[in-house]
Symmetry: C2
Subunit: 333 residues, 2 copies
DNA sequence: CGGGGCGTTGCGCAGATGAGCGGATGACGC
DNA sequence: GCGTCATCCGCTCATCTGCGCAACGCCCCG
């Protein structure tokens, strides 16, 4: 049952019918008499035209979603929920990122039941999500930072700022981790975690009802490189060990497990296991470079909810044997 | 009655409704209960979504036409008929040109009553039209070349070849003008026209029922420059005199009249007056560079039928005060 | 040459959809 | 505070459209 096999004269007829139907708004009956065919034939031609992609219907709007791709990805990876933002009409990577962040903000706002405590990470993506959240998106939510992020290069702590903004906009309380993401020695990390204030925040983080976090690329662009925790060379070494990106500060491979256990033991924050067992773990992942991390996350249970763009969704569906794959990819590309 | 004025929450609702309707194929009733609105509201939102361009329906096919743009241009310039080819999915100027040529071939094939004698010009566009015509597009049509075109630079006569191909594919006879397009002296032109064979062809051309011709840009790219009749400098001089392009070898200004009467008197072929008074004069004009010539032609009655691309159509509609202008341009761009 | 299988066509019908209409609701000016 | 106007909403009705079904023609193979 390969669709798209149409008589070439039927194909031309379908094009004419589609023009009259969608551009001129004529009824199938009118079109039938104009083209000297029955109205049933017109209906079938129009259906074929849509099926073969001659007629392309796209929804051009910053908040448009790709429902078909959502369903396919959700089913394939057994996610609890998913949002796939449309990239129709997007011209820059920043714009795409912003659209996905907006989608995440919308999702969070609509999340029911609202979490009592929300664990959040930081990064470029999370910053955008915080910015997109409307004032009053929730009421009295406790927002806990789940991994360290005191910037070594920039003035001010953008990581904590993210948590603060999210909390402020919900008229809630923020619990920040004003400590480095990665320490030089495992011992330092252990002792910091034992500090009463820090331990309190980490404990609170471990008991959050929901987590919201981004993902980083494994490359010189990584936020951990920009912040000065790692050098480009160190990240390159991680890539050689199989790293595809980082989740809450921890670089994982395609199996979803940290590629460097020593580095991992120096990383402050919630262990990935906690994310993996969380009831609600919302990953926000956008952009060409993050397809691999996204795949690693969804295949290894590192999120229950995925919020991403249609390009990433298409990448996640590649190699799928699902019947509607072609359609979904066409739409998502 | 300015459309596009929508409540922002309505707008979001419209986006969601459009997703469910067009992507998922749900009924308006289902969407209504899903979004907690009545089905009538859903219908109105969908209508608004289409009106404001949130939902964009385009027909992606090499032979797709722009019916709305066709109507607008036809009405505005009082044409007898028109074809506007869609440029959706076109990547190169050549592809666009080919689509328009195909449209012209289709138009010619469907033309009823079929002309007994068809006058044709030559050029890149006409060459493509000839190539696109199917074998047997008509039966026994006499094809007459209406302007000289013996190439001075290339071997063989591509101008006559065009007429020959068109005639052959209709199992008809060709009458060619194996003479230069432009002569050096007016006297030579006069004596050539007095030659019995030439005069016979020209007379036949003058009595054709229909004419098919392209248009050239006024620039170094002109076919008349490539063929060696004019130098780039001479064309530049013509541009300074107001030339916007050439029609059957004659450079015209925005008023549709030859800009250089001396040059015109050295040009062999049908006078523009004959085209202007023809019952059926089919102009085939495609491409960014030909917007101005196209305008000159349609505003001065140099064609009764226009076959062009949607970009040119949009250009022709610019400055129009027609109510549906916005929509048409959106669609045509 | 004939029969069976398959795709295509025309059609009835029920469900889906769009146009027009009165009433409610809210904004604005007096 | 009140009258007026415009807009929006839900509804009825007529129309449009998608789906299932039977008949037809076509092609392949025996």
């Amino acid at each position: 049952m390969l669709r798209g096999l149409m008589n070439s004269s039927d194909e031309l007829m379908a094009v004419r019918a589609a023009e009259l139907y969608y551009d001129e708004g004529r009824t199938q009956d009118e079109i039938g008499s104009a083209l000297h065919i029955t109205r049933w034939k017109v209906g079938r031609l129009l259906a074929q035209a849509r099926a073969t992609g001659i007629v392309r219907i796209e929804i051009v709007h910053p908040r448009a979603r790709r429902v078909l791709a959502e369903q396919a990805v959700k089913r394939r990876y057994g996610l609890k929920d998913i949002v796939v933002a449309s990239s129709a009409g997007v011209s820059s990577a920043e714009e795409l990122q912003r659209r996905v962040a907006q989608a995440a903000a919308d999702y969070l706002t609509a999340l029911r039941p609202a979490p009592h405590t929300l664990g959040v990470s930081w990064g470029r993506t999370m910053h955008d999500v915080a910015a997109c959240l409307p004032r009053g998106w929730a009421h009295g939510v406790g927002v806990v930072q789940i991994n360290g992020g005191l910037s070594l290069t920039k003035y001010g702590d953008t990581a904590s700022a993210t948590a603060l903004v999210i909390a402020q906009k919900a008229a809630g309380s923020a619990h920040v981790l004003p400590i480095p993401a990665i320490l030089e020695h495992t011992a330092t990390k252990r002792s910091i975690e034992r500090d009463r204030a820090i331990a309190g925040v980490l404990d609170r983080a471990a008991h959050a009802q929901a987590y919201l976090f981004g993902a980083g690329v494994a490359g010189a662009d990584s936020a951990l490189v920009h912040s000065g925790y790692l050098t480009a060379e160190e990240v390159e070494a991680l890539v050689r060990k199989g790293a595809v990106g980082d989740v809450v500060g921890r670089f994982i491979g395609v199996d979803g497990v940290p590629v460097d256990s020593e580095l991992d033991s120096r990383t402050v924050g919630l262990p990935l296991e906690r994310i993996r067992t969380a009831e609600t773990a919302i990953a926000v992942v956008a952009g060409e470079g993050k397809h691999e991390v996204a795949r690693a996350m969804v295949t290894n249970g590192l999120c229950t909810v995925l919020i991403t763009d249609d390009g990433t969704a298409a990448a996640l569906l590649e190699g799928s044997a699902e019947p509607e794959r072609r359609e979904v990819q066409e739409q998502a590309s």
